[in-house]
């Protein structure tokens, strides 16, 4: 169990951690979204993945549009503040490039399901979904009755992905990882996953002065670390670079048509292999 994470190039890390047919959660709530890892998954032509993510965002628009996924488990699928994810919509509405099965939750349920996964529980419970049609279309939403009060609660299965993929600010010489700012569900995902891959902005000798309550994932909870400066762009890394809101706005027209999307992916992802990898 005390297998320690190893630093390796991103291409090797994806090869090691992500296999065809895996369930994969690339998380990061607006902040620290692991774009570079998503791009490497596309370059390595992974197939038939079940993708988990609360907010699919642009990286899942790209993964779905490039045909790596059979299934998406999610709770909000838009381009934040801009509009639709056109590739996600095309997959759901028209089956392009392939049909996509949706398993749809609310944020509260999905965050709780990651938490339950990290806690080694079979399911999560919450006051949730009351009066909505979501429980009607998602058979994973059930109910349990509190044995003490008789209160009926919503229940959803714990999320235990084969692979968790996150981005963080720093690793230290001992391969521990620190993340800060909007920390989302990354700690839960890392601890819920069978294997966890982390890309980091940099490796430092020592984390130095920090809050005693800093979010740190010890090396023995992780599988692979790859050093990828700007590996979250166009999302951001607090303390390193800001969210590229201009790109989020520009993505709307890039992704609107299949041709412009494929041309962009070809130039910026498929033919940019490992361009930013320094490990």
């Amino acid at each position: 169990m005390s297998q320690r994470a190893q630093v390796m190039p991103l291409s090797a890390a994806i090869e090691e951690c992500v296999r065809d047919g895996d369930s994969v959660a690339l998380e990061g709530f607006t902040h620290l979204i692991p774009f570079a890892s998503g791009h490497e998954i596309i370059r390595q032509r992974r197939k038939h993945l079940t993708l988990y993510r609360m907010t699919p965002d642009l990286i899942y628009d790209q993964l779905i549009g490039m045909g790596v996924a059979d299934r998406l488990v999610f709770s909000w699928g838009g381009n934040p503040g801009v509009g639709s994810l056109h590739r996600l919509r095309d997959a759901v509405e028209n089956g392009w490039p392939s049909p996509l099965e949706l398993i749809e939750h609310s944020h509260a349920a999905m965050a709780s399901a990651y938490d339950a996964g990290a806690a080694n529980l079979p399911f999560a419970m919450l006051h949730g979904y009351r009066g909505t049609d979501l429980a009607r279309v998602n058979r994973q939403v059930r109910t349990v009755t509190c044995p003490f009060t008789g209160t009926e609660l919503a229940a959803v299965p714990a999320i235990r992905p084969d692979v968790g993929v996150i981005h963080a600010q720093r690793a230290d010489a001992g391969c521990n990882v620190l993340l800060e700012g909007i920390v989302g569900v990354q700690k839960q995902v890392a601890l819920a996953s069978k294997r966890c891959l982390v890309t980091v902005e940099e490796v430092v000798e020592d984390f130095g002065p920090r809050s005693t309550n800093a979010v740190i994932l010890p090396s023995w909870t992780l599988t692979a670390i790859a050093v990828v400066p700007r590996g979250a762009h166009p999302s951001y890394a607090h303390g390193y670079y800001a969210r590229d809101n201009g790109f989020y706005i520009a993505w709307d027209s890039i992704a609107r048509e299949r041709d412009s999307f494929l041309a962009w992916m070809d130039t910026h992802v498929l033919r940019a292999a490992n361009a930013t990898v320094t490990a």
């Binding site: 709530f29 607006t30 902040h31 609360m54 907010t55 999610f74 709770s75 909000w76 699928g77 838009g78 934040p80 503040g81 801009v82 639709s84 994810l85 996600l88 919509r89 759901v92 509405e93 749809e104 939750h105 609310s106 944020h107 509260a108 965050a111 709780s112 990651y114 938490d115 919450l126 006051h127 949730g128 979904y129 009351r130 009066g131 909505t132 049609d133 979501l134 279309v137 209160t151 009926e152 700012g181 909007i182 920390v183 989302g184 569900v185 700690k187 839960q188 951001y236 607090h238 800001a242 969210r243 809101n245 201009g246 989020y248 706005i249």
Partner: protein, 257 residues
């Protein structure tokens, strides 16, 4: 531009901002809700507590965020918590007095659809989905909704209920075991609606300057009810518009960079 000139979106945002109080703890969505909440904070409600679902508590952004998780929100927050903590302790824990929602479709009981237009399995338009809204709608003390009003979006029957308003009306929320108030204001670019105390159907309480009942009805997919004492919404003041436009200009420049 004369003092009286404003857009529909501006009056909607200003009227929503006026309804917010300094003591509110407000769960903020992106778009019109975010603009209204920050306008309130920059005018009459300087101590309002704004919470975004990314985990930022008591945030004071200088420009409006494009997403619910822009760095600006974290930089200016009192504290930032994880997303499971946000939904479990703060929202489900009952700490939030007011939730602010919008949607693609709303019905007469202020139920909201942000999931699909058409059939779920074969949607005509796949919308983003629920996100935080299904639980915001039942766990905040009360809910304000802002939406531009049109015959396409104010519909007789929702294609999908993503977030519960007053359900089928009457005591439907109570029967589902929900103790919170649900939608207490539906603020549009044409009017303000509030629930009738017994039926819980949303009815018009104020109409924005220059709006007629004919125009309101033509923009609504069900026969509208009116309160016994409908008044005219006070127009946005020069000062309110100046603060709002300044905020939106700062935001535009920041996001274009």
């Amino acid at each position: 531009m004369s003092a009286a000139a404003y857009t529909g979106n501006e009056i909607m945002t200003v009227v929503a901002a006026r309804a917010l109080r300094s003591e509110d703890v407000c769960f903020v969505g992106i778009g019109a809700p975010s603009a209204a909440c920050n306008l309130a904070r920059l005018t009459h409600a300087p101590n309002i507590t704004l919470i975004y679902e990314s985990g930022t508590i008591a945030t004071r952004p200088h420009v409006l965020p494009l997403s619910i998780g822009d760095g600006e929100l974290c930089d200016t927050a009192l504290t930032t918590v994880s997303v499971p903590e946000m939904f479990r302790y703060w929202l489900q824990g009952g700490r939030i007095t007011l939730g602010f929602l919008g949607g693609a479709q709303v019905d007469r009981f202020a139920n909201l659809n942000t999931t699909v237009i058409g059939e779920y399995a074969r949607p005509k338009v796949r919308l983003p989905g629920g996100g935080g809204a299904p639980e915001i709608a039942t766990q905040c003390g009360e809910v304000f909704i802002t939406m531009p009003q049109s015959i396409r979006t104010f519909v007789d029957k929702l294609d999908f209920i993503t977030s519960l308003g007053h359900g089928e009306g009457g005591d439907h929320r109570r029967r589902l075991g929900i103790a919170t108030q649900g939608p207490t204001k539906l603020i549009t670019d044409l009017c303000v609606m509030e629930p009738e105390p017994q039926t819980r159907e949303m009815r018009v309480v104020t109409m924005h300057p220059g709006v007629t009942r004919e125009r309101l009805q033509a923009s609504t997919g069900w026969p509208l009810c009116y309160s016994d004492a409908v008044t005219e919404t006070p127009a946005p003041t020069v000062a309110e518009l100046a603060v709002l436009r300044d905020l939106q200009e700062r935001t535009r420049r920041a996001h274009a960079a």
